[in-house]
Protein backbone atom coordinates (compact mmCIF):
# COMPACT_ATOMS: atom_id res chain seq x y z
CA UNK A 1 0.00 0.00 0.00
CA UNK A 2 1.57 3.22 -1.16
CA UNK A 3 -0.17 5.24 1.54
CA UNK A 4 1.11 3.13 4.42
CA UNK A 5 4.58 3.28 2.85
CA UNK A 6 4.32 7.05 2.68
CA UNK A 7 3.38 7.21 6.38
CA UNK A 8 6.28 4.93 7.23
CA UNK A 9 8.59 7.16 5.20
CA UNK A 10 7.30 10.22 7.09
CA UNK A 11 7.82 8.37 10.34
CA UNK A 12 11.50 7.86 9.49
CA UNK A 13 12.23 11.45 8.48
CA UNK A 14 14.61 13.34 10.82
CA UNK A 15 11.84 15.81 11.56
CA UNK A 16 9.47 13.11 12.74
CA UNK A 17 12.20 11.52 14.84
CA UNK A 18 12.98 14.87 16.50
CA UNK A 19 9.28 15.48 17.15
CA UNK A 20 8.97 12.03 18.73
CA UNK A 21 12.13 12.00 20.79
CA UNK A 22 12.29 15.57 22.03
CA UNK A 23 11.16 15.92 25.63
CA UNK A 24 9.51 19.28 25.07
CA UNK A 25 8.24 19.33 21.50
CA UNK A 26 5.16 17.19 21.97
CA UNK A 27 3.91 18.70 25.27
CA UNK A 28 4.40 22.25 23.95
CA UNK A 29 2.70 21.62 20.62
CA UNK A 30 -0.12 19.70 22.29
CA UNK A 31 -0.65 22.50 24.81
CA UNK A 32 -0.92 25.05 22.01
CA UNK A 33 -3.32 22.73 20.17
CA UNK A 34 -5.55 22.34 23.26
CA UNK A 35 -5.52 25.97 24.39
CA UNK A 36 -6.25 27.26 20.88
CA UNK A 37 -9.61 25.55 21.35
CA UNK A 38 -10.55 28.75 23.21
CA UNK A 39 -9.89 30.84 20.13
CA UNK A 40 -11.23 28.47 17.52
CA UNK A 41 -14.03 26.43 19.12
CA UNK A 42 -15.06 29.33 21.35
CA UNK A 43 -15.44 31.75 18.44
CA UNK A 44 -16.93 29.15 16.09
CA UNK A 45 -19.61 28.39 18.70
CA UNK A 46 -20.28 32.11 19.20
CA UNK A 47 -20.88 32.39 15.47
CA UNK A 48 -23.12 29.32 15.46
CA UNK A 49 -25.05 30.67 18.44
CA UNK A 50 -25.59 33.91 16.53
CA UNK A 51 -26.89 31.93 13.56
CA UNK A 52 -29.28 30.17 15.95
CA UNK A 53 -30.31 33.56 17.29
CA UNK A 54 -29.41 32.88 20.91
CA UNK A 55 -26.28 35.02 21.34
CA UNK A 56 -25.10 38.44 20.06
CA UNK A 57 -28.68 38.89 18.85
CA UNK A 58 -28.41 42.65 18.60
CA UNK A 59 -25.55 42.48 16.10
CA UNK A 60 -26.23 42.00 12.37
CA UNK A 61 -25.19 38.50 11.32
CA UNK A 62 -22.95 39.88 8.57
CA UNK A 63 -21.06 41.92 11.16
CA UNK A 64 -20.59 38.98 13.50
CA UNK A 65 -19.28 36.95 10.54
CA UNK A 66 -17.04 39.78 9.47
CA UNK A 67 -15.59 40.40 12.95
CA UNK A 68 -15.13 36.77 13.94
CA UNK A 69 -13.73 35.52 10.63
CA UNK A 70 -10.16 36.83 11.06
CA UNK A 71 -9.97 35.21 14.52
CA UNK A 72 -11.45 31.98 13.24
CA UNK A 73 -8.91 32.00 10.43
CA UNK A 74 -6.00 32.53 12.83
CA UNK A 75 -7.38 29.93 15.25
CA UNK A 76 -7.94 27.37 12.53
CA UNK A 77 -4.46 27.93 11.10
CA UNK A 78 -2.87 27.35 14.53
CA UNK A 79 -5.01 24.23 14.98
CA UNK A 80 -3.96 22.81 11.60
CA UNK A 81 -0.26 23.62 12.02
CA UNK A 82 -0.04 22.16 15.53
CA UNK A 83 -2.25 19.25 14.49
CA UNK A 84 0.01 18.41 11.55
CA UNK A 85 3.05 18.65 13.84
CA UNK A 86 1.47 16.25 16.34
CA UNK A 87 0.56 13.88 13.52
CA UNK A 88 4.07 14.07 12.07
CA UNK A 89 5.48 12.74 15.35
CA UNK A 90 4.12 9.29 14.57
CA UNK A 91 1.99 9.12 11.39
CA UNK A 92 1.48 5.33 11.26
CA UNK A 93 0.19 5.25 14.86
CA UNK A 94 -2.27 8.07 14.23
CA UNK A 95 -3.45 6.41 11.06
CA UNK A 96 -3.97 3.14 12.94
CA UNK A 97 -6.66 4.56 15.23
CA UNK A 98 -10.24 4.76 14.03
CA UNK A 99 -10.77 8.05 15.92
CA UNK A 100 -8.17 9.80 13.77
CA UNK A 101 -10.00 8.71 10.63
CA UNK A 102 -13.33 9.80 12.11
CA UNK A 103 -11.84 13.16 12.99
CA UNK A 104 -10.51 13.68 9.46
CA UNK A 105 -13.85 12.74 7.87
CA UNK A 106 -15.72 15.11 10.19
CA UNK A 107 -13.22 17.90 9.44
CA UNK A 108 -13.95 17.51 5.74
CA UNK A 109 -17.69 17.58 6.49
CA UNK A 110 -17.28 20.72 8.62
CA UNK A 111 -15.45 22.33 5.69
CA UNK A 112 -18.23 21.32 3.30
CA UNK A 113 -20.78 22.76 5.71
CA UNK A 114 -19.03 26.13 5.55
CA UNK A 115 -18.84 25.98 1.75
CA UNK A 116 -22.53 25.10 1.43
CA UNK A 117 -23.49 27.85 3.88
CA UNK A 118 -21.45 30.45 1.99
CA UNK A 119 -22.87 29.35 -1.35
CA UNK A 120 -26.52 29.33 -0.27
CA UNK A 121 -28.13 31.08 2.71
CA UNK A 122 -24.91 32.85 3.68
CA UNK A 123 -24.80 34.60 0.33
CA UNK A 124 -28.19 36.13 1.00
CA UNK A 125 -27.25 37.28 4.50
CA UNK A 126 -28.21 40.89 3.66
CA UNK A 127 -31.85 39.76 3.47
CA UNK A 128 -31.98 38.40 7.02
CA UNK A 129 -29.14 40.29 8.69
CA UNK A 130 -31.25 41.68 11.52
CA UNK A 131 -34.28 39.41 11.21
CA UNK A 132 -35.66 38.61 14.69
CA UNK A 133 -35.72 34.97 13.64
CA UNK A 134 -32.83 33.60 11.56
CA UNK A 135 -33.80 31.41 8.57
CA UNK A 136 -34.16 27.69 9.06
CA UNK A 137 -31.29 26.96 6.65
CA UNK A 138 -28.93 29.10 8.73
CA UNK A 139 -30.01 27.29 11.91
CA UNK A 140 -29.48 23.93 10.27
CA UNK A 141 -25.96 24.98 9.22
CA UNK A 142 -25.25 26.14 12.79
CA UNK A 143 -26.51 22.89 14.36
CA UNK A 144 -24.49 20.81 11.88
CA UNK A 145 -21.44 22.90 12.69
CA UNK A 146 -21.85 22.51 16.47
CA UNK A 147 -22.46 18.76 16.22
CA UNK A 148 -19.46 18.26 13.93
CA UNK A 149 -17.09 20.32 16.09
CA UNK A 150 -18.21 18.56 19.27
CA UNK A 151 -17.57 15.25 17.50
CA UNK A 152 -14.19 16.48 16.24
CA UNK A 153 -13.09 17.51 19.75
CA UNK A 154 -14.37 14.23 21.17
CA UNK A 155 -12.63 12.17 18.47
CA UNK A 156 -9.45 14.20 18.97
CA UNK A 157 -9.47 13.44 22.67
CA UNK A 158 -10.16 9.79 21.97
CA UNK A 159 -7.10 9.54 19.70
CA UNK A 160 -4.80 10.02 22.68
CA UNK A 161 -6.46 7.10 24.49
CA UNK A 162 -6.34 4.87 21.45
CA UNK A 163 -2.76 5.42 20.24
CA UNK A 164 -0.65 2.27 20.47
CA UNK A 165 1.93 2.48 23.27
CA UNK A 166 5.25 3.96 22.07
CA UNK A 167 7.66 1.27 20.98
Amino acid sequence: MWFVNLLQWLHDTPFSITMRESVWAEPIVETIHVLTLTLFIGFAFLLDLRLLGVCLRRRPVSQVLHKLNPFLFVGFTIMVVTGVLLFSGDPPSFYSTIFFKIKMVFLVLAGLNVLVFNATIGRKVAQWDMAPETPRAAKVAAVISIVLWVAIVAAGRAIAYDLPPPS
Binding site: T31, V34, L35, L37, T38, L46, F71
Partner: protein, 162 residues
Amino acid sequence: MWLRTLVFHFCQWCNNSSWGHGVRDSVWLFPFVEIFHLLALGVLGGTILLLNLRLVGFGFRDEPLPELTREVRPWMLGSLAVMFVSGFLLFSTEAVKMYGNIGFRYKMFFLFFALVYTFTIHRKLTTSDETRVSPVWRWLAAFVSLALWAGVGLGGRSIGYV
Protein backbone atom coordinates in the same frame (compact mmCIF):
# COMPACT_ATOMS: atom_id res chain seq x y z
CA MET B 1 -1.60 23.46 59.93
CA TRP B 2 -5.36 23.11 60.19
CA LEU B 3 -6.07 24.37 56.65
CA ARG B 4 -3.73 21.82 55.12
CA THR B 5 -5.37 19.04 57.10
CA LEU B 6 -8.81 20.25 56.09
CA VAL B 7 -7.90 20.33 52.38
CA PHE B 8 -6.32 16.89 52.61
CA HIS B 9 -9.41 15.45 54.27
CA PHE B 10 -11.56 17.06 51.60
CA CYS B 11 -9.42 15.36 48.94
CA GLN B 12 -9.77 12.02 50.71
CA TRP B 13 -13.51 12.49 50.96
CA CYS B 14 -13.74 13.23 47.20
CA ASN B 15 -11.49 10.30 46.44
CA ASN B 16 -13.75 7.91 48.36
CA SER B 17 -17.02 9.45 47.21
CA SER B 18 -19.50 7.53 45.12
CA TRP B 19 -18.90 9.80 42.09
CA GLY B 20 -15.12 9.49 42.53
CA HIS B 21 -15.46 5.71 42.47
CA GLY B 22 -17.99 5.84 39.67
CA VAL B 23 -15.89 7.85 37.23
CA ARG B 24 -12.67 6.04 38.23
CA ASP B 25 -14.10 2.56 37.81
CA SER B 26 -15.74 3.22 34.47
CA VAL B 27 -13.76 2.75 31.27
CA TRP B 28 -15.48 5.49 29.27
CA LEU B 29 -16.79 7.91 31.90
CA PHE B 30 -13.47 9.70 32.46
CA PRO B 31 -12.87 10.51 28.77
CA PHE B 32 -16.56 11.39 28.46
CA VAL B 33 -16.36 13.96 31.27
CA GLU B 34 -13.03 15.19 29.87
CA ILE B 35 -14.69 16.04 26.55
CA PHE B 36 -17.21 18.26 28.37
CA HIS B 37 -14.30 19.93 30.16
CA LEU B 38 -12.59 20.61 26.80
CA LEU B 39 -15.72 21.91 25.06
CA ALA B 40 -16.53 24.21 27.97
CA LEU B 41 -12.90 25.37 27.84
CA GLY B 42 -13.53 26.44 24.27
CA VAL B 43 -16.64 28.46 25.11
CA LEU B 44 -15.29 29.93 28.35
CA GLY B 45 -11.99 30.90 26.73
CA GLY B 46 -13.80 32.21 23.67
CA THR B 47 -16.06 34.55 25.65
CA ILE B 48 -13.19 35.77 27.84
CA LEU B 49 -11.03 36.39 24.76
CA LEU B 50 -13.86 38.23 23.05
CA LEU B 51 -14.46 40.54 26.03
CA ASN B 52 -10.76 41.25 26.44
CA LEU B 53 -10.32 41.96 22.73
CA ARG B 54 -13.25 44.34 22.88
CA LEU B 55 -11.81 45.92 26.02
CA VAL B 56 -8.66 46.90 24.13
CA GLY B 57 -10.64 47.99 21.07
CA PHE B 58 -10.67 44.99 18.71
CA GLY B 59 -13.95 43.97 17.16
CA PHE B 60 -17.55 45.01 17.90
CA ARG B 61 -16.35 48.53 18.59
CA ASP B 62 -19.61 50.15 17.56
CA GLU B 63 -21.46 48.34 20.32
CA PRO B 64 -21.14 49.54 23.92
CA LEU B 65 -19.01 47.11 25.92
CA PRO B 66 -21.66 46.56 28.64
CA GLU B 67 -24.11 45.36 25.97
CA LEU B 68 -21.62 42.87 24.57
CA THR B 69 -20.86 41.71 28.10
CA ARG B 70 -24.54 41.22 28.81
CA GLU B 71 -24.92 39.15 25.65
CA VAL B 72 -22.00 36.78 26.17
CA ARG B 73 -22.14 36.61 29.97
CA PRO B 74 -24.70 33.79 30.21
CA TRP B 75 -22.47 31.65 27.98
CA MET B 76 -19.41 32.53 30.02
CA LEU B 77 -21.12 31.65 33.31
CA GLY B 78 -22.73 28.55 31.80
CA SER B 79 -19.45 27.20 30.49
CA LEU B 80 -17.77 28.07 33.80
CA ALA B 81 -20.40 25.94 35.55
CA VAL B 82 -19.72 23.05 33.16
CA MET B 83 -15.99 23.50 33.81
CA PHE B 84 -16.58 23.29 37.56
CA VAL B 85 -18.78 20.23 37.52
CA SER B 86 -16.67 18.30 34.99
CA GLY B 87 -13.44 19.45 36.66
CA PHE B 88 -14.68 18.39 40.07
CA LEU B 89 -15.61 14.95 38.73
CA LEU B 90 -12.20 14.52 37.10
CA PHE B 91 -10.51 15.73 40.29
CA SER B 92 -12.49 13.27 42.41
CA THR B 93 -11.12 10.27 40.52
CA GLU B 94 -7.65 10.93 41.94
CA ALA B 95 -8.15 13.68 44.48
CA VAL B 96 -5.48 12.48 46.92
CA LYS B 97 -2.94 12.30 44.09
CA MET B 98 -3.99 15.80 42.98
CA TYR B 99 -3.34 17.09 46.50
CA GLY B 100 0.35 16.46 45.96
CA ASN B 101 0.45 17.40 42.26
CA ILE B 102 2.33 20.66 41.80
CA GLY B 103 0.64 21.34 38.44
CA PHE B 104 -2.77 21.02 40.05
CA ARG B 105 -1.72 23.33 42.89
CA TYR B 106 -0.63 25.96 40.39
CA LYS B 107 -3.91 25.55 38.56
CA MET B 108 -5.94 26.13 41.74
CA PHE B 109 -3.76 29.07 42.69
CA PHE B 110 -4.36 30.77 39.33
CA LEU B 111 -8.02 29.74 39.32
CA PHE B 112 -8.62 31.43 42.64
CA PHE B 113 -7.14 34.73 41.47
CA ALA B 114 -8.67 34.44 37.98
CA LEU B 115 -12.13 34.07 39.54
CA VAL B 116 -11.66 36.86 42.05
CA TYR B 117 -10.33 39.15 39.32
CA THR B 118 -13.04 38.22 36.80
CA PHE B 119 -15.88 38.86 39.24
CA THR B 120 -14.50 42.11 40.67
CA ILE B 121 -12.22 44.39 38.65
CA HIS B 122 -12.80 42.75 35.28
CA ARG B 123 -16.54 42.63 35.79
CA LYS B 124 -16.62 46.27 36.78
CA LEU B 125 -14.63 47.25 33.67
CA THR B 126 -16.69 45.20 31.23
CA THR B 127 -20.02 46.39 32.58
CA SER B 128 -19.30 50.11 32.51
CA ASP B 129 -18.31 52.64 29.87
CA GLU B 130 -14.71 51.61 29.21
CA THR B 131 -13.80 54.91 27.52
CA ARG B 132 -13.64 56.53 30.95
CA VAL B 133 -10.60 54.37 31.66
CA SER B 134 -7.34 55.16 29.87
CA PRO B 135 -6.18 52.66 27.20
CA VAL B 136 -3.11 51.81 29.25
CA TRP B 137 -5.27 50.50 32.09
CA ARG B 138 -7.55 48.68 29.67
CA TRP B 139 -4.62 46.89 28.05
CA LEU B 140 -3.26 46.05 31.48
CA ALA B 141 -6.66 44.80 32.65
CA ALA B 142 -7.02 42.58 29.57
CA PHE B 143 -3.47 41.31 29.93
CA VAL B 144 -3.97 40.41 33.60
CA SER B 145 -7.19 38.58 32.75
CA LEU B 146 -5.56 36.56 29.96
CA ALA B 147 -2.43 35.91 32.04
CA LEU B 148 -4.45 34.56 34.99
CA TRP B 149 -6.61 32.34 32.78
CA ALA B 150 -3.56 31.19 30.82
CA GLY B 151 -2.07 30.21 34.19
CA VAL B 152 -5.13 28.07 34.86
CA GLY B 153 -4.92 26.46 31.42
CA LEU B 154 -1.18 25.82 31.53
CA GLY B 155 -1.42 24.52 35.09
CA GLY B 156 -4.14 22.15 33.95
CA ARG B 157 -2.13 20.96 30.98
CA SER B 158 0.89 20.31 33.20
CA ILE B 159 -0.99 18.02 35.62
CA GLY B 160 -0.39 14.98 33.47
CA TYR B 161 3.31 15.70 33.01
CA VAL B 162 4.55 16.53 36.52
